[in-house]
């Protein structure tokens, strides 16, 4: 690769707050989300789901449904032509239930009809006879008790990952705690939807809101009994994802119905169905014991993290890997004995959600650090500084952090930010607000801190790559770039970043982003905060290849040596402009496709958890300021401050949005968001009963963003979307503890935890 730098700044290149290419469509209502798709003559699909978390299916009678006018297909597992099982990690989930159901909401049959209401009524006419069984809902027994009945024949433990380091498990100061994390929902605002269109070649075209087109294709095609090239996917507009679209929902069902009826079939979930239609964040039971010297230096950590994966594996193995490898947090700990388990139960299936595995552990280890601070008589920031890793330290897996890790200065920086004014006397600013629940009596201010470590990109030896195709040509006398990847824009602003990278690398302002589809190689998932790294890297590499060919072409056409590209112009060694890009190109088209891989990672040792499992680490620190009405248990978050190291800011305004959004979801987990599950049943599948933060709950934020480059990453960047979701939760809970003196071992914190009633 020639070493050519584009020196002149290009407008809206890397580092600028470039506007989103899809922004205008999104504010005018023209942006087509998956649920907005329409085709003449299309049918509407609906899904019959199990009302029971565990049951045998004794019989299914479709007669009534098939007789209903307007119904064109009613399908069960018998109609699945290929593989009957699928799964993002391993195939354990039936496309449609076979003889038994393992969670409430498990799909049993699908219907296509001329109207959504007809399809729903047909579902209601299907007669299923169940033998209802006692659901297995105790994750601790699933993890540790071999006599517990099994959800799947192979046993209840999906993955057990130990960490074993050192042998000294005695210390002067010992603090212990048992913590619990409730089940959080991604609650993206645009429910699961897609449109499947049968094709003339016997295949199917699927337009769908997802996070990873190719892994969907890999799962759908075998179930349809089709080769992958006959299952073509195009990304439809995605109304948020946050991990919930990593697993399939309606994809195979819509394709089955389309192929069966020969007509386009659209499936759109409603909100209630959405709560049953995707995986959630794993609830966690955690036990920690931290041993330290009297001056607060960690000697050892013992821990147990049990993650309830529910009925199917989904991404539980990776969630366990994160919880184990990051289970002691960003701290140097010489002796560790930690076990992370992911288990099957008959609870709702759990899988990916922003920061998975690391979020649960972060609540545990950060709560422990606060206990340690108290036991040693230290300030919470000071105890963290005494133990924080830095560049060159080892994390729990023995992996050396070979990139900047300025945790000490980040902690000092967040601590030293100005604090908001004291408790307001204006009742509108108090917890409970104009509900007039207090005039200031019983209000206590609290301040708390949290810090998190998140692995960026896929870990543990996964072949993690992305593909980009970049085309440079003259359109209407102007040089124009087309960037084509399969990477899913889910709201994070990846389309903006891809255009910015192309502008910077080629100096051409006119960049178009092609729709994401499976006509180009895989981009991997829009998860693990990895797309700006990996797809960004692929776009950059493909642009470099295009640039090289452009300069070769220029040398040939202009008979000139030593040419370079600068500010969108071809320049000579002395910097004189000799031609424009368009002049050099003429009628020629340059197109290059490149794959980009981050450096390889290694599996964790099965017995000790040791290994260089991660390629990059990212860090965020939060300070939370809360006012608590200690009599009523109401919490108002007054301010959140964050310091995050992103290596390199690619787009300041979009980056800030990611930190705001991640922080808001962490606030939700701390104070309000939980899917209430009892006996395997979801009790609150609506936005009336499942609360997400509103604009009133989300306080003003102070952000300090650092740019210590990671030498291994494109532009030195670090993934940014997840880290704030880790640290905001423990910071808020710590602040509530500081205000109330309560131990608060479970999140979300409820008013009764504060009042003790």
């Amino acid at each position: 690769m020639t070493d050519i730098q584009v020196t002149s700044p290009v407008r809206d290149g890397v580092g600028a707050s470039a506007p989103r290419p899809d922004g205008t469509l999104k504010v005018t209502g023209e942006f087509a989300y998956a649920s907005d798709l329409w085709m003449d003559g299309m049918l509407h699909g609906a899904t019959l789901r199990s009302p029971h978390p565990r049951a045998r299916i004794l019989s299914v009678d479709l007669t009534g449904a098939l007789k209903l006018p307007g119904v064109e297909a009613v399908l069960t597992h018998e109609d699945v032509p290929g593989a009957k099982l699928y799964g993002v990690d391993h195939a354990d989930q039936p496309v449609l239930a076979i003889d038994q159901v393992r969670y409430q909401g498990e799909p049993i049959a699908v219907v296509a009809a001329d109207h959504p209401e007809t399809a729903r009524r047909a579902c209601a006419l299907i007669r299923v006879v169940y033998e209802v069984l006692e659901p297995l809902t105790d994750p601790r027994r699933a993890a540790l008790d071999p006599s517990y009945e099994k959800v799947h024949a192979g046993g209840n433990v999906v993955r057990h990952q130990p960490i074993r380091v050192g042998s000294v498990f005695e210390a002067d100061v010992v603090v212990t705690g048992e913590y619990e994390v409730g089940m959080q929902d991604q609650a993206f605002l645009g429910p699961e939807s897609g449109l499947a269109v049968p094709a003339e070649d016997g295949g199917v075209d699927l337009y769908v809101a997802t996070q990873w087109l190719h892994v969907d294709q890999d799962q759908i095609a075998p179930c349809l009994g089709l080769p992958p090239e006959k299952v073509r996917l195009t990304l439809a507009g995605v109304g948020g994802a946050f991990g919930a679209r990593e697993d399939l929902s309606m994809q195979i069902h819509a394709c089955l119905l389309a192929l069966h009826t020969g007509k386009p079939v659209r499936i759109v979930y409603g909100r209630e169905e959405s709560f049953f239609g995707h995986v959630h964040r794993h609830p966690a039971l955690m036990r920690y014991e931290h041993g330290a010297t009297r001056d607060g230096r960690l000697v050892y950590v013992k821990g147990e993290i049990i993650l309830d994966g529910g009925a199917y594996a989904s991404s539980t193995p990776a969630v366990v890997g994160n919880a184990a490898s990051l289970g002691v947090g960003p701290y140097s700990v010489p002796n560790i004995s930690l076990d992370a388990y992911g288990v099957y139960t008959n609870n709702p299936p759990c899988g990916a959600m922003r920061g998975f595995g690391a979020v649960q552990a972060c609540f545990g280890y950060e709560s422990q650090l606060d206990r340690l601070a108290e036991a040693c008589g230290l300030d919470p920031v000071e105890v963290r500084i005494r133990n924080a890793i830095s560049e060159g330290s080892r994390i729990a897996t023995g992996q050396i952090v070979d990139m900047p890790a300025p945790l000490t200065s980040m902690l000092e920086q967040v601590r030293d930010l100005p604090l908001p004014e004291g408790v307001s006397t204006d009742l509108r600013d108090l917890p409970g607000g104009v509900a007039n629940s207090t005039h200031g009596e019983g209000i206590v201010r609290g301040v708390g801190y949290g810090i998190g470590i998140k692995n960026i990109c896929y870990s543990e030896g996964f072949d993690d790559f992305s593909t980009a195709r970049v085309r440079l040509e003259v359109i209407g006398e102007e040089a124009a770039v087309l960037v084509h990847t399969a990477a899913a824009e889910v709201g994070q602003g990846l389309v903006t970043l891809k255009a910015q990278i192309a502008r910077t690398e080629l100096g051409v302002p006119n960049v178009t982003i092609a729709p994401a589809d499976t006509q180009v190689g895989s981009a991997g998932s829009s998860s693990a905060s990895r797309q700006s790294y990996v797809t960004g890297g692929a776009v950059k590499t493909a642009c470099e290849a295009v640039r090289e060919r452009l300069l070769e072409l220029a040398a040939k056409k202009l008979s000139h040596d030593g040419l370079a590209l600068s500010g969108g112009k071809i320049v000579s060694v002395s910097g004189i402009v000799v031609a424009s890009v368009a002049e050099v190109l003429g009628d020629d088209v340059i197109e290059e496709t490149r794959e980009y891989r981050h450096r390889a990672t290694a599996p964790m040792d099965q017995l000790t958890g040791q290994g260089d499992a991660h390629t990059q680490f990212a860090f965020c620190v939060h300070r939370a300021v809360v006012d608590v009405d200690v009599e009523l248990g109401l919490v108002k978050v007054v301010e959140l401050a964050a310091v995050q190291d992103v290596g390199k800011i690619l787009n300041p305004i979009a980056l800030e949005g990611q930190i705001h959004g991640g922080t808001a979801q962490g606030l939700g987990l701390a104070l309000m968001e939980e899917i209430q599950v009892a006996g395997g049943l979801i009790r609150n599948p609506s936005f009336t009963d499942y609360l997400i933060p509103t604009i009133l709950d989300m306080p003003p934020m102070r952000l300090e963003i650092l740019e210590n480059p990671d030498p291994h990453a494109p532009y030195g960047l670090r993934g940014a979307g997840e880290p704030p979701t880790l640290s905001s939760t423990p910071a808020i809970v710590a602040a509530v503890r500081a205000a109330t003196g309560k131990s608060l071992m479970r999140i979300p914190v409820r008013p009764e935890h504060i009042t003790g009633t």
């Binding site: 707050s17 506007p19 989103r20 899809d22 205008t24 999104k26 504010v27 005018t28 209502g29 023209e30 942006f31 087509a32 989300y33 649920s35 907005d36 329409w38 991604q186 609650a187 993206f188 605002l189 645009g190 429910p191 507009g237 995605v238 109304g239 948020g240 994802a241 946050f242 759109v268 409603g270 909100r271 204006d426 509108r428 600013d429 607000g433 104009v434 889910v490 709201g491 994070q492 602003g493 305004i653 979009a654 800030e656 949005g657 990611q658 705001h660 959004g661 922080t663 808001a664 979801q665 609506s686 936005f687 009336t688 997400i692 933060p693 509103t694 604009i695 009133l696 989300m698 003003p700």
Partner: protein, 165 residues
């Protein structure tokens, strides 16, 4: 039932089932998919439209009640090619990520600013007899019926604040 629907100043004589919501009519019959269905139960605000200038959650309004009323959806906010100042403000402040809540946020904020201009107090207005002042607290209170799961709230407050002043 036959209804005369006026949407974004276009007239639509249509026949609807009496149980059909305005949201479904807009999306399924009139091909106006700007208003979004996030919950269909009045909980999220993604379906907010303006009816005679006032904000309404269209998933809770029956189409048969809309005879001869003027409905404005997100598709009708711009003046020809000139975006509404709030649309421009949302882009400038990056007040969205996935954008699914945005049509509702925009219609809601247009209606909210009109309520504000008409001198309507909110529950956080300190002096209900004086003209309200559009501070952050007022914006947050008055926009609290529109959820944004991407958490773009900080920027939504900034965008509305700029457009409202």
């Amino acid at each position: 039932m036959d209804v005369q629907l006026s949407v974004n100043q276009d007239q639509h004589p249509i026949t609807v089932d009496t149980r059909e919501t305005l949201l479904d009519t807009l999306r399924e019959q009139l091909d106006l998919t700007g208003a979004k269905k996030g919950c269909d139960h009045g909980q999220c605000g993604a379906c907010t439209v303006l009816v005679d200038g006032r904000r309404v959650k269209s998933c809770l309004a029956l189409t048969v009640t809309m005879d001869d009323r003027e409905i404005t959806t997100v598709e009708g906010l711009a003046d020809g090619d000139t975006p509404h100042p709030l649309q421009a403000g949302f882009i400038e402040h990056d007040a969205f990520q996935c954008g699914y809540c945005t049509p509702g946020q925009l219609c809601s904020s247009v209606g909210m600013l009109a309520e504000f201009a008409a001198g309507w107090p909110s529950v956080v207005t300190p002096d209900v007899s004086a003209a309200p002042h559009l501070d952050e607290g007022e914006i947050r209170e008055r926009m609290s019926g529109n959820l944004c799961r991407c958490g773009a709230y900080v920027n939504i407050v900034a965008a509305i604040g700029q457009a409202g002043r």
